[in-house]
Structures are given as C-alpha cells and as structure tokens.
Symmetry: C2
Subunit: 241 residues, 2 copies
Amino acid sequence: MTYCVGLLLNDGMVLLSDTRTNAGLDNIATYRKMFVFEDPGERVIAVLTAGSLSVTQTTIARLREAIDEPDADAGSSIMLAPTMLKVAEIIGNTLASVRQDIDEKMTAAKVSTSASMIVAGQRAGGAMRMFLIYPEGNFIEATDDTPFLQIGEHKYGKPILDRVVKPGTSLSEAQKAVLLSMDSTLRSNLSVGMPLDLAVIEKDACRVTTRRRIEAGDPQFKAMSEAWSVALRESFTQISI
Amino acid sequence: MTYCVGLLLNDGMVLLSDTRTNAGLDNIATYRKMFVFEDPGERVIAVLTAGSLSVTQTTIARLREAIDEPDADAGSSIMLAPTMLKVAEIIGNTLASVRQDIDEKMTAAKVSTSASMIVAGQRAGGAMRMFLIYPEGNFIEATDDTPFLQIGEHKYGKPILDRVVKPGTSLSEAQKAVLLSMDSTLRSNLSVGMPLDLAVIEKDACRVTTRRRIEAGDPQFKAMSEAWSVALRESFTQISI
C-alpha cells in the first residue's frame, strides 16, 4: 500500500508521499510516488500515485512521452493543456487507458489492477487546483470545505487532518500536519514506509518551492514524531473522563 | 459499518461499541452491538459484534437458545463451557454456521455476508480472556503484546490505542482511551454513530462492574471530546517542525 496526502491552502499546496511498495509481505521495495512536471514560473504539476506500480509507472511514462512528442498539443501534453482541469482530464484518461491495457493482460490471472492519483498544480494566470483521480479516470477536486485529498492507506492519518487543516492553515503548520498524519500511518501500518517525499508549492510561484526527501532516522522527523507522542500522552493524561 | 474495541488489561477488561447499522446510506438504524451473558460472580461473557446484522443477530439468538435448552451441556452452552477457550469455540462455530446458512440464501443475489465478533470473559477460577472471532469462526486472542482487539472501522481509532494502551493501563485511563479512539472514528466516518455502549469487567469480579450507555449529546462525553480536540490543537501548535 501507500499513503499520499495533498493540502490545498490559501498560501499554497503541500504534498507528502511515502515510498513503500510491496508485492506480498515478503517483497518490499522503495519507489518514488511523487512526480513533478515543471516549467518554473509558468506551470507546475505534481502527481502522487497509489496502487498497482505497473499501472502508475506506465501512466507516468506515457504522460512524459506525450510531453516529449514532437507534435505534442494542448489535448495530449499536460505541459500544454490550457487549464488544470484539462490536465486532470488528460491524466485521468491516460490512467484509465493504461489500467484497461494491463487489466486485459491480467484477466487470465484473475487479478485486477487499480491505481489512483492526486494531481496538484497551477499555471501562470490560473488558480491552484488539486484533484483526486480515481482508477476509472474520473476525478474530484479539493475545495475550501475539504482542503485535503488522500490516497492509499488514508484512514489512520485522517483524524489529525480533520482536526487541524483549514484553508487558512499556514504552509509551515501544513507541513507539520501532513508529517504527523504520515507518522500515525507509519506507526499503525507496515505497508507504508520511509523515506518520505515532501513538496511545497507556494501560491503563484508556479514551481516547487520546497522539496525534501526525509530518510528513515531523519533527526528532525524523529524529534517531531517523539515530541508529538509525548504531547499526545500528556494531553491524554490531563483529559478527565 | 461499526466500531467496537476491547482492551484486556491487568486490572480488567474495557469494552466499547457504537450502535449504528446501515443498509446503504439511506437506511440507518440503531442496534445494540454489545451483548452480555452473566452469572454474576461465577461467569461473565461479553460479545461485541460487527458486520451483517442478520448474521450477528441470529448468532446471538442461537447462543441464547443453546443456553436455555433443557438439555444444554458444556459443549453447546457458553454458560456451561468449561473454559473461555471453549466459549470462543462455541461462538466461532455458531457464527460460521449461521453465516453459511445465510450465505446459501444469498447466493442468488450474489451478496456475501460477513461478520466478526469480540468475545471477552472470565469464569470463576479462570483468567480473563479476550478473543477476536473471524467470519470463518477461527479466532485470535489478545495478549500482553497486543492488549486490544478491534472490529469494524478500526483504522481511524488505532493510532491513539497504539500510543497509550499497555497492559498496566488503569481502568479509568482505559475508558478514556477507548472513548477517544471512538471519538476519532465518529468524526471521520459517518457509518459509525452514537449512542455508545461502554462496559467494564473488573478482574475476578466475573460480572460487568460498570455499564453505561452514552447518548448523542452526553455532556460528559462531549466535554471530553472537546477537551481532547483543544489539547490536540494546542499540542499541534507547540510542536516545532
């Protein structure tokens, strides 16, 4: 499994993904699940992926190919698409078509492949937008009411987001929120694992303004995680029933 | 869905269940999911249920019938079974057989029924034991390493349990832990709902020593839930990234 989360806030977008993939419990590997397509200052698109690795890798590869095609146009390349909505459509269609191709190969094995994605981006002159793309290629969009999207093992890390994330949350608080949301997930579910990829896209920068890989044992993450544990336990002790 | 949780601690056992059942989103009802079989001072057995209501109700009804049979014996009645392990076996077998009966009826509709249970109990002279019974009738037991068992929508409420519950946790702290675990679940998942049923079985009492139904709007639960939200938000603010 996987855990990826994206926040769409007034000041920008914050994205976090883990890197664990597994085929069964005895075949674990590390793969990046965050992909950035960037024309700095003009357009930035970040894609987070969950689900079948063969589906998500092929989808990303096809998106890259479509960008590099000599006759790439606004209908095929996410770097030329006129709006973020169109970007989400291209990615959704690519994902659905890859999935269909792979599903056909898998029919004999009676295995079904599935994958979902979070797409976050902004083009110069447009608004920041964030979408959750379903395995079938359709999608929903983050709004003020629900300023975060999650894919993969989303349940363990949802309570903290439900409590603290609002559109007005600062980018620094937001990074804390996604890291603590990930921390809860890492503690409770083996199929989500370090290292982590964190990205911040400040509003109107149209580029990734902060990008950080957090390795296992990262002292800053570890200190935060421990401080949170202590704070939780202390709060717990102080609450009266 | 459902959320039920049971803690097996040195001082006793603490059990909490919600009461929401739904057939689709537009057919929601309240049903008790905690059932107590008691011969005070001699034997106490509490059963928490999750899954198909027709399966769990029929299972509980058959367990009651088996107790009331004039020729009930140690192999059929959970109130006569010589050990808690045997109790878990009887409940597991009853659950599996009910499920099979109902599944046969459902084949035409291509609907599968599933249910699981937590069984907690003690008989005079024996140890407290707690089991999680799977839909197939097999079961696992809570131990010192893992002193809690959950059924239903267990993920939202797991991080708090992972952090604070140890075998040495006091019964009062334990009640707080299960209530806060439930609170996180209620906030994040519509299919789990008030009122709640809370039971405490103190060690060697062989009866339910505290039993409480917590209705929606219960001032004590509400105050605890709000205090926890405030404490979480304050802790969150104080953590440095």
